[in-house]
Amino acid sequence: MTKQAVLSLEEAVSRIEPGSSIATGLALEHAIPFAAGHELLRQGIDDLTMIGPISDLLFDQLVGGGAVSRIRAAWVGNVSAGTGYRFREAVESDEIDIEDHSNFSIALALQAGAMGIPYLPTRSLLGSDVFERSGLFREEIDPFSGDRITLVPAISPDWAIVHVQRASPDGDVHLWGNTGIIDPAVGAAENVLVTAEEVVDPDVITSDPSRVAITHDQVTAVVECPFGAHPSPLAGHYNRDNEYYLEYHRRTKTQAAFDEWADEWVHGVSDREEYAEWIEADLSITEPIVAAEVRYGQ
């Protein structure tokens, strides 16, 4: 409830305890909090349960770094190249536990958490092995129509980690572009860590209350973290670094190869400023579009 102070990435991530459940990668291939994820690896915070929809690469990296015990997600891999080798090997060798979801079932589970209800009903899942081979969902009869329906129970993560375009120091957030399941996850989570491309004056945020996607009462820590979503894109800030995903795919077929990759890209990086200097591709916005003016007032 109280307003937040801006923390360093190191300090903010250190508040996450080993064994926590963390929802992240919530905007699908957009605005993935890679910087925060890599800091989890640097600090050796492990035994994590990762929760997400499609996870484009970050979950694979966290698995490769030994941080993960369990995944509750709809898809884990590399959207550019398909397989995430670290995820695949860990699941096949039973090193991590996997709870299979569809994108909608994980969205509904978090939405139920955000709404403070025990479950949400859906017409999806029935007839699939996502339903049949899971002990999570229930089939019930809709008492109004008599139809078969699936109930998806609520998930309330310990943490949601979100990367956004701009936040006030207090933790009020402007976010635009694809948002995936950020809203439900933030509503459902016990704590929210916001990494922001820019920390701005509160007046910037309060100039446009309808753009505010996360309010400070929901936020545990705010970090200013330029390029915090790289290699994923951030609307208005930078494009996707496709080559990074392809290079990662080529370089992480074995654990030893991953460890070498991580020594370079995760452990060899002291902070995000240094990291930003490593990026070779020109990802900058060269054809900006400015949103049409909107006024409030009285």
Partner: protein, 258 residues
């Protein structure tokens, strides 16, 4: 004479043809990203695409998109919200056609993108993403797969994306509310699903014989002729216009030239 083209370019063209003018399409990863852009630029100018990340579009992106979330796919979009909005459109029946891929398929169009068996081993794949939801709830689905016999199986190892009921009647005796698979496009042929929900061969791609296609399946597959739909045809080649568009939308051929 049509130009030279790759099998994937033909698949994109065939997938685009499955989008009718006025359709709302649910588009995921890879080839369908290109196919929607071709369709809306040619025969389906009033079609619309929704992406589970939150974007709705009714025009091609002005730049290559590796993923649905690439910035060119957001620029000048119809709207950008979140997944609950997009999936709600699907669940309430507003999606005419959805695209799905699979590592395995059976005769009823059940798809597996979760676990496959290789000898005694199980191989873990990325999982459903939104595929299970699209398969359950879209009015119809179009399936795209490389044409490899190991992918065609009597029983998929894991039903990630449900197809038709094995009891006949397509989706009549099936708990999923959508219409189920309508078309399969492989790198060698296109297939429909008959009144019982079973795959049948509709057309072979140019240079491929129908017999060659049929022997790749472990079951006795019907052809269009067998079910009274006329002879097996040759799949239409991509037009020059389509090829030009595909190569504009995928300028380095990342998705379509390899």
């Amino acid at each position: 004479m049509a130009s030279e083209y790759t099998p994937r370019e033909l698949m994109v063209s065939a997938a685009a043809a499955e989008i009718e003018d006025g359709d709302t399409a649910f588009v995921g990863m890879r080839l369908p990203l290109i196919a929607f852009q071709v369709a809306v630029s040619t025969h389906a100018p009033n079609s619309m695409a929704v992406y589970e990340s939150g974007v709705v579009r009714d025009s091609p992106a002005d730049g290559f998109i590796h993923t649905m979330c690439d910035l060119p796919n957001l620029n000048r979009a119809v709207s950008a919200t979140g997944m609950i909005d997009i999936m709600s459109r699907l669940q309430r029946g507003d999606i005419d056609v959805g695209f799905l891929g699979g590592a395995e398929i059976d005769r009823y169009g059940n798809l597996n993108t979760t676990w496959v068996r290789a000898g005694d081993d199980e191989i873990r794949l990325p999982g459903s993403g939104g595929a299970c939801d699209i398969a359950c709830m879209a009015d119809r689905t179009v399936l795209l797969m490389p044409h490899e016999p190991r992918r065609f199986t009597e029983e998929v190892h894991y039903v990630t994306s449900p197809g038709h009921s094995p009891n006949g009647g397509r989706r009549t005796d099936h708990p999923a509310p959508g219409g189920g698979p309508s078309t399969l496009v492989t790198s060698k042929a296109t297939f429909g699903f008959d009144v019982d929900g079973e795959l049948y061969l509709r057309s072979a791609h140019p240079g491929v014989s129908p017999e060659e296609v049929l022997t790749d399946f472990p079951w006795e597959m019907n052809t269009a002729e067998d079910i009274g739909e006329g002879p097996v045809t040759t799949t239409a080649q991509p037009t020059d216009e389509e090829l030009a568009l595909i190569r504009a939308f995928d300028p380095d051929g990342f998705w379509t030239r390899s």
